[in-house]
C-alpha cells in the first residue's frame, strides 16, 4: 500500500528497490550506506528475494554480473571506495551488456577519505570509471522521495538498455529522514532471450554473456553496438529540472543535495530582488548539455555558477554545455563540507556587485 511515511534515506531506497521487484541484492558493509544491506537482510527474503552479504565489493559486483546475466532484477550498493573496487565488474557488465542497479552513496575522498557527504565521485560515475569505452547511466536525486522514484526507474532502465545503471546519492541522502511515499510500480516484461537461464536447445539461440572479443573485427562490431546504445540514451534519457530560470540572470548548476541548498539560496536572493535560477541535472550521464546551451544563448543570462561539494568536476560538463558563451563561476567546497544557503546567496550578490563595479 502506498502511504506517506517517515524513513531514513538508505532504508527507503532499499524498500523502493524491493517494491520495484529487486530479486537479489549483494552488499558489503561500508558507511554511509549500511542501512541498505541491513534493510535488505531483514526484508528482501520476506518479499521472496535473496540477500547475500559478500566478502568484498569485488564479489558484490561479480555477483551482480552473474545475477544480471540471468535477466533477474538485481542490485548492489556501496560508497565511493567500494564503488572504486567495483569498476572491474562495471566495465564487464557494460561490455557484456548485463543489466544491474548500483547505488553509490558518495563519501569523502580520495583514499579512505571520510564518511560524510561529498560529490567527488562525479568523474568516476559519469565518465566510465573502469577500462574501455563505456558509460554507466547515472541518475542523482536531491531528496529521499526522488531517490526512491529514481531507483525504481533505474530497474527499468537497466533492463531496457541491458546496462549497468547507477544512482549517485551522497551521505546526506543516505542518512537523513524525510517523509516519503514509496510507489509500487508495475513491472514491465522484457525480452530475456539473451539471458543465461538454461538452454533447451530449441526455443532460442544458446545464450552467451560475453565481453571477450579477441578479433579486432568483432571488437569493432561490439563497440559499435555499445556506442549506438549510448547515443540512444543521450537522445532519450536526459533528465533535469529548471528552477526559477525564466528571467534569471545568474543560473546556478548543481546536482543532488547541493542543488537543494541552491534552491534555498535562490529563494533568499529572489526576496532581495536578485534574479537567480537553477538548472539541476538529474541524469549526470547522459548530461543535459542542450538546456545549458539554450540558456547560455539568452541575452538575459549573465553568468553561470556551478556549486559542487568537490574541487569542481561537473563544471567540465557545464563548459561543454554552455560552449563558454557566458562566464562560468565556481563555488566549490571540499573536505565533506556542505554549503549554507547564505554562503551561496552572498556569493551571487558579490558577483553582481563586482560586475557593476566593472571588476
Amino acid at each position: 500500500m502506498e502511504k506517506t511515511v517517515l524513513m531514513k534515506g538508505n532504508e527507503a531506497i532499499a524498500e523502493a528497490a524491493i517494491r520495484a521487484g529487486c530479486k537479489v541484492y549483494f552488499g558489503y558493509p561500508i558507511t554511509p550506506q549500511n542501512e541498505i544491506p541491513e534493510y535488505m537482510a531483514a526484508n528482501l527474503g520476506k518479499a521472496g528475494g535473496t540477500f547475500v552479504q559478500t566478502e568484498s565489493e569485488l564479489a558484490s559486483i561479480s555477483m551482480l554480473y552473474g545475477a544480471g546475466g540471468t535477466g533477474e532484477r538485481a542490485m548492489t550498493s556501496s560508497s565511493s571506495i567500494g564503488i572504486a573496487l567495483m569498476q572491474e565488474g562495471i566495465s564487464f557488465m557494460a561490455g557484456a551488456q548485463v543489466p544491474g542497479v548500483i547505488v553509490n552513496m558518495n563519501r569523502g575522498g580520495p583514499g579512505l577519505g571520510g564518511i560524510q557527504a561529498s560529490q567527488g565521485d562525479y568523474f568516476q560515475a559519469t565518465k566510465g570509471g573502469g577500462n574501455g569505452d563505456y558509460y554507466t547511466l547515472c541518475l542523482a536525486p536531491e531528496s529521499i522521495q526522488e531517490a526512491c522514484d529514481l531507483v525504481q526507474l533505474l530497474f527499468d532502465l537497466a533492463q531496457k538498455y541491458r546496462q549497468p545503471v547507477m544512482m549517485l546519492g551522497d551521505g546526506m541522502i543516505g542518512q537523513m529522514m524525510e517523509p516519503v511515499c514509496i510507489k509500487e510500480p508495475e513491472q514491465k516484461e522484457y525480452d530475456l532471450s539473451w539471458a543465461t537461464r538454461g538452454w533447451d536447445g530449441v526455443s532460442r539461440e544458446r545464450a552467451i554473456i560475453n565481453s571477450h572479443y579477441p578479433n579486432p573485427d568483432d571488437m569493432v562490431i561490439q563497440n559499435g553496438i555499445l556506442q549506438e546504445k549510448y547515443r540512444q540514451m543521450e537522445a532519450e534519457e536526459v533528465r533535469y529540472e529548471e528552477y526559477m530560470c525564466e528571467d534569471a540572470e545568474t543560473i546556478m548548476v548543481a546536482w543532488g543535495t547541493v542543488a537543494r541548498i541552491c534552491k534555498s539560496a535562490i529563494k533568499s536572493l529572489r526576496n532581495q530582488g536578485v534574479k537567480a535560477g537553477l538548472i539541476r541535472p538529474i541524469s549526470l550521464y547522459p548530461f543535459p548539455y542542450a538546456i545549458l546551451e539554450e540558456y547560455a544563448k539568452k541575452d538575459q543570462v549573465k553568468r553561470f555558477l556551478t556549486v559542487e561539494m568537490c574541487a569542481g568536476q561537473m563544471v567540465e560538463d557545464v563548459i561543454i554545455g554552455t560552449k563558454s558563451l557566458k562566464p562560468i563561476e565556481r563555488l566549490n567546497k571540499l573536505g565533506m563540507m556542505s554549503h549554507t544557503p547564505k554562503e551561496i546567496a552572498d556569493y551571487v550578490i558579490e558577483l553582481e556587485a563586482a560586475e557593476k563595479e566593472g571588476k
Partner: protein, 248 residues
Amino acid sequence: MEKLFTKTTALTDKPFHYCPGCTHGIIHRLVAESIEELGLKDKAIGLAPVGCAVFANEYFNVDMQTTSHGRSPAIATGIKRALPDRIVFTYQGDGDLASIGCGEVNHAAVRGEKITTIFINNAIYGMTGGQAAPTTLLGQKTTTTPYGKDGDANGYPMKVCEMLAAHEGAYYLERVALWDTAHIIKAKKAIKKAFQYQAEGKGYCLIEVLGTCPTNWGCSPLEAFEWQKENMLPMYPLGVFKDKGGEE
C-alpha cells in the same frame, strides 16, 4: 552396424584451440559427458575463466558466461542465487582460482554455495606464457622464476583442496589425475558426483584435476605425465579431501 560411441551433445563441434598434449580437452569432455548423462544439460549454466580455457564458452554447448579473472565463484553465486534450481559450474585454472580469485573461491566454499568448480592445476600460467603460479613447485623454472621457484622469495606451493577442506561449507573436494584410462574413469566419476551433489542441493563441490602443460613445461605430452607423477604428485596427492555425502 552398432553405434559404439557418440560425442556428447554438451560439447559444440568447434575444434579445441588447446596445445598438443594439453589435458583441457579431456577435462572438457568429462565435464560435458557428466552434465549430459545426469540429464542436466538444459539446466546448466557454465562460466568460462580467464586463462587457457578462456574460449570455454565456445566449447560447452550450454548457456555460458565469460568472466573477469578469478571472479567465477562470485559470478556463479550471483547466478545460483538468482536461479536456485539451475546447475551452475565454474571451470578455472590455477592462476584464476588460486591466485587472483583466491578470495572468491574461499568465500564461495565458506558460504557453501551450491555450485560446482572444476579446478585445473598445472602448476603454471599457460595462456600468458609460462609464468609462476601459486601452485608452481619449489625449484620449478618458469619465466618469472627463471632460476627456479624459491620459497622465501616467491612463496610456497598452494594446496587448494587442503585449504578448502577447512571450510564447513565445502561439501565435496577431490583431487584427480588423467595419466591413463583408469585415472580418467576415476576423474569422470568424481566430476559426475560433484554435479550430482549440486543437483541434490548439496553444498560447495570442487574437483581439482592435475593438468599438464607440455608447451610451458618444455617437454613432450608423455614426458609431461612422467614429470607430473614425479614432481607434482608428492606435493598434490590424489584423493578425497572431503565428502560429506560419503560420510552419511
